[in-house]
Amino acid sequence: MSAAATTRTGGGSSLANRIVIYGLLLLFALVYLIPLFVMLVTSFKSMDEIQSGNMLALPQSPSFDAWARAWGETCVGLTCAGIKGYFWNSIKMVVPAVLISTILGSLNGYVLTKWRFRGHKLVFGLMLFACFIPFQAVLLPMATILGALGRFGADLESATGWNWGFGNPTVNLVIVHVIYGLGFTTLFFRNYYEAFPTELIRAAQVDGASFFQIFRRILLPNSAPIFVVTVIYQFTNIWNDFLFASAYAGSGDVMPMTVALNNVVNTSTGVVEYNVNMAAAIIAALPTLLVYVVAGRYFVRGLMAGAVKG
């Protein structure tokens, strides 16, 4: 039910109203689009045009040159093969981190709403408060622990002959993002499951389903909206993280996209190739943009379904 569905009809001269409403919406849309527009037109311009022309002007002779260079030629450190290779680095870090943190969050939300125990509020409060810790403050102690984990992993490997993945920069980033994502994912799922009918859980219990069976057969199939919200949220945050990525995975072979992009656009000296930078920036942001554009509808639906308590 839309709040407007009924109020709208109450308005006076509805045509004038509509014009004002659409006018405002379009105006805001234009303002919101300016940065993206600037980036887009710049990426299609030549360097001369960028330096002499207006940043809002359309390119005189649009060229995909900058895009091609950003994709396959621009230098990231000493390697000049564009930013295309860093997608995979980001993906193999982001996908496990998002999925693990989301699944853990949903399990936590499940326990915190449907299997409450003495002190569950305190536990939830502590986990929620964890969202607020500034990441700069955990950078070093986390590095210390990851380093210890790495040495432990090396010992483990020499003892068992099997590589467990500890100490691998990608694995480290997954661990970090899972830990610091737990607060949010737990919050989202808890609020969603709070509104989830408890009678369904009871019915399933009476039907003989176990803890995990209830989760897998009853809760998970009905959690799609909140999964969308959580995955979008986590995906964007983890994809865009620079601080942890640069500190824990700076070397060329594991460097996530944000660090590579930063190395392209944030060079301290030399002529700045704005067109290439902009193209690279847009390429690097494509996955998150796509997620929001494609899943935006489900995002609002998911929020409706309970991420927002209302």
């Binding site: 009918p197 009678e199 369904l200 009871r202 019915a203 399933a204 219990q205 009476v206 039907d207 003989g208 389903a209 176990s210 069976q213 057969r217 009853i218 199939p221 009905n222």
Partner: protein, 369 residues
Amino acid sequence: MAFLEMSGLRKRFGSVEILKGIDITLDKGGFLVLVGPSGCGKSTLLNTIAGLETITAGEIRVDGQAINDLHPSKRDIAMVFQSYALYPNMTVAENIAFALEMRGVPKAERRLAVENVAKMLQIGHLLDRKPSQLSGGQRQRVAMGRALVRNPRIFLFDEPLSNLDAKLRVDMRTEIKRLHQTTGATIVYVTHDQIEAMTLATKIAVLKDGEVQQVGTPAEIYNRPANLFVADFMGNPAMNLLEASVVSEGGRTLLSLTRQGDDDIRLPVPASAAASGLDGRKVILGIRPEAITDRDGADRHAGTLEVVESVVEVVEPAGSDTFVVTHIAGKEVTARMRADTDAKAGSRLPFAFNLDKAVLFDPGTGRRI
């Protein structure tokens, strides 16, 4: 030995005691209705039987075996929930079969069982639908089917009809009654609707504030309420509860009821109460509307019939009967007259009090005398 025994059940949430020592028993094949106003603990009591909530003290036994420490799934009970609690992601068939699946029943057997139940409840055509595509009544049937397919030792119903509209509620009530009669199942049923309680139960337990007020057959509860609460709660329209004082006049012990702007009324003491020792005391007279009638509508077998004239305040025709309201002892008194009564508001009318069906309560303790 009774089939289901609850003894000394207590349940507390923090400092709040929800159940304060419940003792109820039920024979095999019985239909126990737990009734009471909201917040009385009836749903909690049901949940403790199901094992969905722990008890703080006491014991629940089924067939002589204590079950209060068993997991809900091990108690061999089935439950129908107020919201039906149908799994929205499963079809009707899957919903019904879920419990069997959880118990490792082979697929073929499950299908057979689902089909049988579906036939019994006439929901065969709905088996492939999702719960969201069903009407309220259909959901209700599916929820019952889910319970029936288990063939459990005890069925638990948690206000199963409260989400249905009036007509469907009556239909489903009949349906449940028929199911009980045909299957002989042992049922514990929670409702706040006293008509449901009366129609369905073989045994009613009235609860209030976590305590059992009275346990008995519907007739016992209705005719001989243990206290003012039960008297007031059961029956619609509610029992008239009138303050009276016991006086001795001419060697007879009589009830005296005051009236504003009219003579006091003198009524004989009902046979249900022992008259001795009441002299001079204040009592409360409980008399159901159907025991106050027009003169020729009165029960022909009535032993003590007393006719009193009173001013009619309101007339409420209800089709089969007409309810007439008058004012006695500072309270509205509802009488049940024939449909064709000529009562008019403001007119004086004779009211026939059938005191065979009346009871007396102690105003201090609220208990029946």
